[in-house]
Symmetry: C2
Subunit: 366 residues, 2 copies
């Protein structure tokens, strides 16, 4: 990012307008703020009593109904060894077990390293890190209207995000480049984040092998800096989105990616993606309790794999039109779920991640 | 709104699909909720210390700089009699004077009566009353795009608002019908609210005479019900938007309307309309202190005219692009001003009104 002063200029010349522009650009890049440190208070929609009730209900879900861990013998084995009640692929947890495991070793906050150390982000506490949108299969342009995204779009979004001082993170699946075959797509996606940005980025989760590829590429990128000289352990240079298959199911793809990242000390955002009314109860309270149960089980598994691996409690909740079955955005209930889940994450002592501030314009501002 | 049962049906017939539809419509109208009673807590962005500082600063503005009351000898006379320091059209207020006047007689909450008593709204306390947008000169339609509004649009918006169960109030200048001459426009606007809705409405404020016309039309509409038989005083059947001419100025038009409504025991929303950076300091704190000062002076004047006349502390704040001078919407600062002003209104003990939840889609959802 810095201008390399040339000791031997090719030819002597007076400062030009171009020089001034470059200088202005450089000065601007130095005004970049790597993340927000919040000074404003939390909005607490529920008091202690309400939050305790949700934690109690989440424990009831974990104890009585349990969570399915599908097609993943290792996870079942880890749970059995930890003292959970495993029958087939259904795992039931004694009250408080998942919470205890998480609180024993998960960090309250952690640094995600970036290629450019000035862009390192601290995740957790009173910091807010903004990242671009995740997972859109479509893009919209003035010339072509709405169409499936391609890798060229992906690269452009990474470049735009790199230029946006209000985005502290390069994100992950900034759009889904469907012009590339699925089994090789992740190479180009991760490489785009590496090549066109020096902000922190997210890794591939669509197959455990692709998670390992992401880790390997990141190890090459960071070189010696990948390892913390003090601890000898890998630094956290990747954060990745692990979605539950709600209701109450973790599948082999996501479990495999979760374990691969946790083993390498990379961060995971353990996130039930819930359309309330279809994948959870339609109520705010029911959705919050289920989200907490699913997320607790996922975060606890990461701690069983590698105690101390950074985990983030994630929540994506939206509502469903009970008339048409279509997802709806910008309604009040998901906003309440978000506030409640953030409060539950603070009580648990882990960072929180969500989207938010969705509104309902005729054309979504995404 | 009720189906009048006909004792002598024109001809005997079996219930038709049309009957079923009418019955369903009638049942729906009974599901109407006249206003929201909030169960969720306030979001307090400032503690007591911060709010006290803003109140102190507002008092400093009122005491040292003062407020202009332009072209309105009666207002100046009222202030002089109340003990303010009046020099020319500039009025300066001893510390705490405006607050004391407001707190002495302004109601903490009040009922605005509607033609249909089921649509009466309680304004203040933990109630939220939703009203449609106010003052748009333009409308947008699929056929015609963006164009100036006409009285036919006004009528249509009143009808749509009447049908919308989530809007508890018919609003006022729901759009500006520019096809009618200004000096007679208010008759058609108020009449539209009276004819096409039975929800509560807002009055004309563009001239004191037009405020008096609004009161007279409302008196005709309500008939005997306009007067409270217990007190012999007019019921509050109109609420009207009184905008300060920020910074620090009240003009004769708004003062005349304010006094006309206050004398008739009708409610006023005393609202500095501020584009921060042009009409107030660019900071949240400066804008909040100025808004409080201007609003306090206006509400206190209403109490001097008629102690006990309902007043609402209003705040409209937006920011200005310091690059282009254009108003900007959906930025964080006005949201903070809104939260702070609502907290200041609660401390003062009057209801609060604002717009809000503005976002920045490419096409405003208004």
């Amino acid at each position: 990012m810095e201008q390399q002063p040339s000791s031997q200029p090719a030819r002597s010349r007076r400062p030009s307008g171009r020089d001034a522009k470059i200088a202005a650009r450089t000065a601007r890049s130095h005004a970049f703020v790597p993340y927000i440190t919040r000074q404003i208070p939390y909005y607490e929609v529920l008091g202690t009593e309400g939050l305790e009730l949700l934690e109690h209900n989440a424990d009831t879900i974990l104890e009585e109904i349990g969570i399915d861990f599908r097609d993943d013998a290792e996870s079942l084995q880890l749970w059995k060894a930890a003292g959970a009640d495993v029958r087939g692929e259904r795992v039931r947890f004694p009250r408080g077990m998942c919470r205890t495991i998480v609180q024993r070793s998960a960090p309250r906050e952690f640094t995600q390293y970036a290629r450019n150390p000035a862009h390192n982000v601290v995740i957790g506490g009173n910091r807010t890190v903004f990242a671009p949108a995740y997972g859109s299969p479509f893009v919209r342009s003035l010339d072509e209207g709405r169409r499936y995204a391609r890798i060229e779009d992906f690269r452009n979004f990474v470049k735009l995000t790199y230029m946006a001082t209000s985005l502290h993170h390069s994100g992950g699946t900034i759009c889904e480049p469907v012009d590339l075959p699925v089994n090789k797509r992740h190479f180009d996606m991760v490489y785009s984040h590496i090549k066109y940005s020096d902000k922190p980025y997210m890794g591939s989760v669509t197959h455990p092998e692709r998670a390992r590829d992401t880790i390997e590429m990141t190890r090459i990128l960071f070189g010696d800096a990948f390892t913390d000289p003090l601890t000898g352990k890998p630094r956290t240079c990747i954060i990745s989105l692990i979605n539950a298959n709600s209701p109450l199911t973790w599948d082999a793809t996501m479990l495999g990616a979760l374990k691969a990242y946790a083993r390498a000390n990379q961060a995971t955002i353990v996130t039930p993606f819930i359309l309330a009314g279809a994948m959870s109860p339609v109520t705010v309270a029911g959705t919050a309790a289920q989200t907490l149960a699913e997320s607790l089980a996922g975060m606890a598994l990461a701690q069983l794999v590698n105690p101390g691996a950074p985990v983030v409690l994630g929540s994506f909740a939206s509502s469903l039109s009970m008339q048409s079955g279509a997802p709806t955005f910008g309604t009040p209930e998901p906003a309440l779920v978000l506030y409640v889940m953030a409060a539950l994450a603070r009580r648990l002592g882990v960072p929180f991640r969500s989207g938010g501030s969705l509104c309902s314009p005729r054309v979504s501002a995404g």
